[in-house]
Symmetry: C2
């Protein structure tokens, strides 16, 4: 049966997931598009249902995703193209989405290895920034992202879209500062923070794993308590009139320095 | 006289500038916020009018901007807090904006120096990316940004906001590929492009100014014609599942490599 009504309870439940409240209440989130659904399936994300608009799902890759062993027994919600377009919030959607269970890791469940490399974000506010950062973190081989304090939600549609499927390759942890710091001290994980007022050039440090890179929020940077706890504090030099960088850019610049050093050893 | 009506012609004209059509017809754009207006005033941007909501403009820095010599004789449009909030599209605005004349440079007006360093973007589509890129380009000392083909508008409100005032520190040029390439050949400017399929690591190249870094669009990368014209073609290595980076991130990673090399010579 193809759902053609916006008032269908399943359609309404999917659209509700645009709100954080509904995501928290259900533990689910909705993903959309060949690329993102493909990453979810291929990385074995806990998919609860596929949402398919047969008239839009014309690509061979899309068809092959439906036949993937890991979703063969998963419920398929079939909707009309019109309904799908409304759910996807975009022109020309590819006709495949999924309801996925959120997967949060705890600090103590994280595997610790000598090459461990985590990104820690304090109170990040912008879901687009978080999504872009997840994409970069995945590209340089971070194991996971640890979100400190009140943060934007990595399962927010804007974050999911910007991450291009990378959120399925990362361990995601929400923690408070004290618990995180105790965990990283216990496991001898070096903590490197960034600050505009730091004296050390980010290229002057030898980044030795296991390592956690700590970035402050868009508006406030790192609070003093965190600055004081860092093993090293680095700055990114600039020479124009600009005296700061976008958070996703600043994070990428330091992540690539860490990654580049590891490529050369 | 304080304007309190949304139907006031000046208020309507300001709001119209959210649309590209009105920006093209008038050659103006609207900027908003202490930081951005401050950069415009301090860099001598061609401000045609200041827009002030006295009840919101409470900071000392804001007051000092109104008294700046370069805007002493500029028209002040005074509006109520309610009107200003509507114009500014945000909660808690700081009560200062400006109508600014767009300043486009032509290729032939660009000063050429042995240290010249330009960023060239082909058909960039997302104004947020363009704004973030302007902020990064300013931070590393780029002289200007050359936009090839149909592009998003650097004066789009989203681009202006993301640039954090950096658009006033950069020469902005709109050009077609043939004119740009002829210009850069004539002035012996090395052209470096980026491509996923390039064989050369972006860190393996010695970036010698005068230099232009060429980045492709979000969706399509660089067309073959441009790839073939480049003096060097570089890739950014990745090791996760991600096989590409956000355009503003990729641009920042290469810009910082170029900047870092120049800092060490």
């Amino acid at each position: 049966m193809i759902i053609t009504s916006f008032s269908n309870p399943k359609v309404k439940a999917i659209r509700k997931l645009e709100e954080k409240k509904a995501r928290q209440a259900t533990g689910l989130f909705f993903i959309e598009g060949l690329r993102t659904v493909g990453e979810a399936i291929q990385t074995g994300a806990p998919i609860e249902a596929l949402v398919v608009a047969p008239e839009l799902l014309v690509s061979e890759f899309g068809q092959s995703l439906l036949a993937h062993p890991s979703v063969r027994d998963v419920e398929q919600i079939t909707v009309s193209g019109e309904i799908y377009q409304k759910i996807a919030h975009k022109q020309g959607p590819q006709g495949i989405g999924a309801l996925v269970r959120q997967k949060w890791a705890s600090l103590n469940s994280l595997p610790i290895s000598p090459e461990g490399f985590w990104l820690v974000l304090d109170q990040i506010a912008d879901p687009g920034n978080l999504g872009t950062i997840m994409r970069t973190a995945d590209a340089v081989g971070c194991q996971g992202i640890i979100l400190l304090g009140p943060s934007t939600d990595p399962h927010d549609p804007t974050a999911v879209k910007a991450s291009m499927g990378s959120l399925f390759s990362l361990d995601l942890v929400a923690a408070d500062w004290e618990a995180f710091n105790a965990w990283r001290v216990e496991h001898h994980i070096t903590l490197v923070g960034t600050s505009d007022s730091a004296q050390t050039d980010y290229q002057a440090v030898a980044y030795q794993p296991p390592l956690a890179l700590l970035m402050g929020s868009e508006r406030h940077g790192l609070p003093e308590e965190m600055v004081n706890a860092c093993d090293a504090l680095v700055c990114i030099p600039m020479r124009g009139r600009a005296d700061s960088l976008n958070l996703a850019v600043a994070t990428a610049v330091v992540l690539y320095e860490i990654y580049n050093q590891s490529r050369k050893t």
